[in-house]
């Protein structure tokens, strides 16, 4: 009798777990990245409660993170397709130049936005052409493109910065980088809105479905009639446009363009994607992870400094965070397979 009861209890607990487990399993990557974010911000709050339990520091993050974050979103799509892009920081710089230069020449906001965004489109097309038609691996093509564009920027601008002839209260400025709802930077909302849009695109749209298939098994995708070329082209154009948009935001925000715009953003953007849980091997990725990852990576330096450690600790934590999180994701993925 006793034995039977125990068995019933065991069976019931088992079935309870059985209900919870699929949900946990399905969202474990998302839960992991949220736990990591909670841990990091928790540690900062312990390290310096005065700073991290008040609004201004978070407002600062909302101002600084989106620019890198936008590019990290694009990079997630690139990695899902089993490609890599190193040229986006230069695209960001170039787009800012195109915007500032065309605005200076013509005074037309529409033309200069067009110039900025189309520079992203053109670079994306050029990258995709070299990768697919010429047949050079994306890491090599985009490395070349990174130097080429950065060089072009310095040559064109003669190494000097450009001022952006826009009023502080110009409509474009309010729309792109103004303050909404009593202090939230508009570009943080752009970042969030685009993250949601790209999330839907990756998981709930035919395009994302094809991206994942192409990165997962390119031959299978082709055999099933997916136009692999066209998917890759669109992905590199998407990356280019997002980087160009980031350049547009940064230039509008600062009201000045510097030839160094985007420099130093390559590694943080990559770190955000990897800490977020997207793999190098293609076929899968998480926009949500990248979104949270961008905030974790973007807040590290401020957090470490305000916790009383010297700034040069930052890189050590960067490294630690990347290695730990990537190890975790790899172990989880192996278990699943």
């Amino acid at each position: 009798m006793k034995v039977t009861e125990d068995r019933t209890v065991i069976r019931q607990t088992g079935s309870l777990l059985g209900v919870a487990r699929p949900m946990l399993a399905k969202y474990r990557m998302q839960l992991a990245i949220l736990a990591l974010a909670a841990l990091v911000f928790g540690l900062f709050a312990i390290g310096n409660p005065r700073v991290f339990l008040s609004w201004p520091i978070y407002e600062a993050f909302l101002r600084t993170v989106p620019v890198v974050g936008l590019m990290a979103l694009g990079l997630t799509f690139v990695l899902v397709n089993k490609e890599i892009d190193l040229s986006f920081p230069s695209v960001m710089g170039f787009s800012g130049y195109a915007f500032a230069a065309v605005l200076g020449l013509t005074g037309s906001v529409v033309l200069s936005i067009g110039a900025a965004i189309s520079s992203g489109v053109v670079v994306g097309l050029a990258n995709a052409f070299m990768i697919r038609k010429v047949g050079i691996p994306s890491i090599v093509v985009t490395l070349g493109m990174m130097f080429l564009l950065r060089g072009a920027i310095y040559v064109l601008a003669g190494g000097l910065s450009l001022s952006v002839p826009l009023g502080r209260d110009h409509l474009l400025r309010s729309v792109l980088v103004g303050r909404v709802w009593g202090g939230i930077p508009a570009h943080a909302l752009w970042f969030a809105a685009l993250a949601i849009l790209l999330m839907l695109l990756l998981f709930r749209h035919r395009f994302g479905n094809h991206c994942r298939a192409v990165g997962d098994n390119e031959d299978a995708a082709r055999m099933l009639g997916i136009n692999v070329e066209s998917i890759k082209i669109r992905v590199f154009v998407l990356m280019g446009v997002l980087a160009a948009f980031a350049g547009l935001i940064e230039t509008t925000r600062m009201l000045r363009w510097y030839p160094s715009f985007g420099e130093g953003y390559l590694l943080p953007a990559m770190a955000a994607v990897f800490v977020g849980g997207t793999s190098m091997f293609g076929g899968e990725g998480t926009i949500f992870g990248t979104f949270v990852g961008a905030f974790i990576i973007g807040s590290l330096e401020a957090g470490i400094v305000s916790a009383g450690l010297a700034g040069f600790w930052t890189r050590l934590f960067y490294g630690l965070l990347i290695l730990l999180s990537v190890t975790f994701y790899t172990v989880v993925r192996k278990k699943r397979g």
């Binding site: 749209h205 479905n209 994942r212 098994n217 031959d219 299978a220 055999m223 009639g225 076929g283």
Partner: protein, 253 residues
């Protein structure tokens, strides 16, 4: 009228001829066993038939209708009811079963957004019906990498059936399968035949080919070197002719 008629098909890769003037037919409700050594041109031939490769020259008719080979593609082949199943290239491992089933032919609403619920429901009924994938905790959301070799093959063939293929092309479907799973695949082909469908079956295992095919076509270095009806040869005779053909090639003079 033949289901498929290929006439004088040539295919050149660089300077090498993979096919030199092949005539190949598949009749309605016929299973054709395509036999040949590695590099004989079997894969090239069926990739042309299924719209993956474009031939250098030749003609393709489907139900008597001449196909414009410049515009022929995988999608076009699908529309004609021609469905290839390539073992290595059939499934995307990190995607769920329902995404695999509908890959390239997703059910979408306006603007191209996926109708996931509908696709999951369809996958579920295919799994419990035709495929008999029951138990083992398998669901439409399961990742393809967890399937066994036979289940993978089953899903790929099931996909072809789901999209109402008239001609299913199987390229080495029994490679790396257990004996039990091989039995399942062969039974599947027999069911296809019973349902009035056609099949091109490629394999190195002559006993499998013999068991299910109505006709055998032997390909060697881009040319058809033999064609037999099952009614005309025994398995032993077929084996003997094959080994004679291949031994001749190997001898230097």
């Amino acid at each position: 009228m033949s289901l498929v008629t290929m006439r004088d098909v040539y295919k050149k890769f660089g300077e090498v001829f993979a096919l030199r003037g092949v005539n190949f037919d598949v009749e309605e409700n016929e299973v054709v066993g395509l036999i040949g050594d590695n590099g004989a041109g079997k894969s090239t031939l069926i990739k042309i038939l299924s719209g993956v490769h474009r031939p250098t020259g030749g003609e393709l008719r489907i139900r008597g209708e001449r196909v414009n080979l410049r515009r022929y593609s995988v999608r076009e082949a699908h529309r004609y009811g021609i469905e290839p199943v390539f073992q290595e290239q059939a499934l995307a491992d990190k995607q769920s079963l329902w995404r695999n089933l509908f890959l390239g032919r997703e059910i979408t609403g306006p603007l191209g957004f996926l109708k996931s619920k509908e696709m999951i429901r369809e996958t579920d009924s295919l799994m419990s019906g035709l495929l008999k994938f029951t138990g083992g905790g398998m669901a439409p959301q399961t990742h393809a990498m967890t399937l066994s070799g036979g289940e993978r093959q089953g899903l790929a063939i099931g996909r072809a059936m789901y999209f109402e293929a008239e001609l299913i092309i199987l390229d080495e479907p029994t490679r790396a399968l257990s004996v039990k799973e091989i039995g399942k695949v062969l039974r599947f082909v027999k069911e296809l035949k019973e349902n009035g469908k056609s099949c091109v079956y490629i394999s190195h295992t002559i006993s499998h080919v013999y068991a299910i095919s109505d006709r055998f076509v032997i390909l060697d270095r881009g040319e058809i070197v033999g064609e037999y009806r099952r009614d005309d040869v025994t398995e032993e005779e077929l084996n003997e002719r094959l080994s004679r053909a291949f031994r001749l090639e190997e001898s230097p003079e």
